[in-house]
């Protein structure tokens, strides 16, 4: 077991080393990414100011607290650019070019391979900016977080990341059946911008949608509440449960997809 873990670990390192090597040929990208992240952040902050108006409140959240939500969104967006997008958007080209066969014949779990094969450093500015924003807002928050509270917040952030991964994986995996809807993950990316703002800023009907249908609430609002020290047990448990269920869901989905692929492809 330990040997297998070591092998997977070594494999992951080699995946990301070769990935970085291929990407780092383009240095201009770094400048553009930095500018893009900063520009987007500036714009989002500007809109937040406009929304908050003279009262400095959005959906009952103080300006500072809303910054935490925005920071988590930026962090998750950076994570998407680093890991989710470079890997999962390739599934459709694997199916189209027939190279999925090579992945299936390696003695490594195919879901692991497809999910972690590439690492794009261009998402890192987003990750760093997000963390910086969160840090800044927390420092100005006043209330310090206990160790347990911090642990919970991190767990909920990870849960949010896993839910995001599951959503991406589900949509990208559909290309095993439908190659023509490869841009479904783009739709996801564009709809998740709703996570920029705390969920209470939305009308009640939409809040329901953002909890049950497109779980934006678990992605940004719930971890933000934990970081601000006002996590509610119900939401936290719900988030952790949703993360576990969605992860298991991706596994079942992938087995199902492979069964289809191996019986239908010629």
């Amino acid at each position: 077991m330990a040997q297998r873990l070591r092998r997977y670990g070594r494999t992951l390192l080699s995946f990301w080393a070769t990935s970085l090597e291929a990407e780092l040929e383009y240095q201009l990208n770094l400048v553009i990414e930095l500018l893009a992240v900063l520009g987007n952040l500036a714009g989002s902050l500007f809109v937040l100011v406009l929304l908050a108006g003279p009262s400095g409140q959005l959906g009952g959240w103080s300006w500072n607290s809303a910054l935490v939500v925005l920071g988590i969104y930026t962090l998750l967006d950076g994570f998407t650019s680093c890991v989710l997008q470079p890997n999962l958007s390739k599934i459709v080209s694997h199916v189209q070019n027939g190279t999925l066969d090579f992945v299936l014949l390696k003695p490594i779990d195919s879901q692991f391979w497809l999910s972690t094969r590439s690492f794009s450093p261009w998402g890192l500015p987003g990750v760093i900016a997000g963390l910086a924003l969160i840090g800044w807002a927390l420092v100005h928050n006043g209330e310090a977080l206990s160790a347990g509270g911090m642990a919970l917040a991190v767990a909920l952030l990870v849960a949010g990341g896993l839910i995001l991964y599951s959503l991406w994986f589900l949509l990208a995996g559909l290309s095993i059946w439908f190659v023509k809807v490869w841009n479904a993950t783009e739709v996801l990316r564009y709809t998740l911008v709703a996570g920029r703002y705390p969920i209470s800023a939305y009308p009640p009907a939409l809040r329901l949608v953002f909890t049950l249908v497109l779980p934006v609430a678990f992605l940004t609002t719930v971890p933000a509440e934990a970081l601000l020290g006002r996590a509610s047990a119900a939401w936290a448990l719900g988030s952790l449960a949703a993360a576990a269920i969605s992860l298991v869901g991706t596994r079942l989905f992938w087995q199902f997809a492979l069964r289809h692929y191996t019986s239908a492809s010629s």
Partner: protein
């Protein structure tokens, strides 16, 4: 005036346009599913509408819920029919050498891309209609019927905004002849488009200084002006169209210059 095949230039142009549009439309129909999804990804104005409704900022700027609803719904429609994706296909074609056969034909290749965009818009119509219907079923209060005049002006303004965006992206696309990463530059341009055009925040909510700054750029003409026309808000119609025309007049010769320089470089590099 040169006559080719005995056709007058106008006739020839119309014939080419008809052929291009019909072939591109047939092509786009094959990609219906993908286009439907692209239409779906244009929900941003609707999300922003949800956030703006009942926000403190809206009240402070004097924006009533009904006005906001109409504005953002109109902005949604404007964005759907003025989206430009030239940079992505052009970069791919230029890098893969697919531009060469096009350059050998007596037709400026950019017309092909324009036709593709128009065809894509036509293919989008049913999906946008479906989305609008869905929104209106959920919130019937948002429904309004613009007058015939408003509708006509609105459509003209949307198409003018589309042409403006197309020209702007053409400028960036021409950089493909010099750099492999021109598409990334377009990403940067997307930022002022998003925030200064009125797509995510109505210009009324801007502080006056920022608003004046925004109005010096072409971006408000791309969303705010056509959206307001459609929404039936009072807006300087003549001034707005003049603004659009001026921006197009500036960008068109620039893009032509860049195109010629770029093609010279492309052929010099051995296309």
């Amino acid at each position: 005036m040169a006559h080719r095949n005995g056709l007058k230039p106008v006739q020839r142009a119309l014939r080419i346009a008809a052929a291009l549009l019909s072939s591109q439309y047939a092509y786009m129909l094959e990609y219906r599913a993908e286009i439907a999804l692209w239409a779906l990804s244009g929900v941003l104005p609707l999300i922003m509408l949800a956030v703006w409704q009942g926000s403190a900022g809206a009240a402070a700027a004097g924006l009533n819920p009904q006005g906001l609803g109409r504005y953002f719904l109109a902005a949604f429609v404007v964005r759907q029919f003025s989206v430009v994706w030239l940079i992505h296909v052009f970069e791919e074609d230029a890098l893969q050498g697919k531009l060469s056969p096009q350059l050998l034909q007596p037709l400026q290749p950019l017309w092909r891309y324009l036709a593709a965009h128009v065809a894509e818009q036509a293919t989008r119509v049913p999906f946008v209609a479906l989305m609008l219907a869905a929104v209106l079923v959920l919130k019937p209060g948002l429904l309004w019927l613009p007058s015939a005049g408003q509708l006509l002006l609105g459509i003209v303004a949307i198409q003018a905004a589309f042409v403006l965006r197309f020209l702007l992206q053409t400028l960036v696309a021409m950089l493909c002849f010099w750099s492999e990463r021109a598409a990334a530059l377009d990403r940067l341009l997307l930022i002022p488009y998003l925030f200064l055009s009125g797509l995510v925040a109505p210009l009324e909510s801007f502080p006056p200084a920022v608003r004046r700054l925004a109005e010096c750029t072409p971006f408000p003409a791309m969303v705010s002006f056509p959206a307001k026309l459609l929404a039936g808000e009072s807006v300087d119609v003549a001034g707005g169209f003049l603004n659009l025309a001026l921006w197009c007049a500036v960008l068109f010769p620039l893009s032509r210059l860049l195109w010629q320089a770029g093609v010279r470089r492309y052929s010099a590099m051995g296309a």
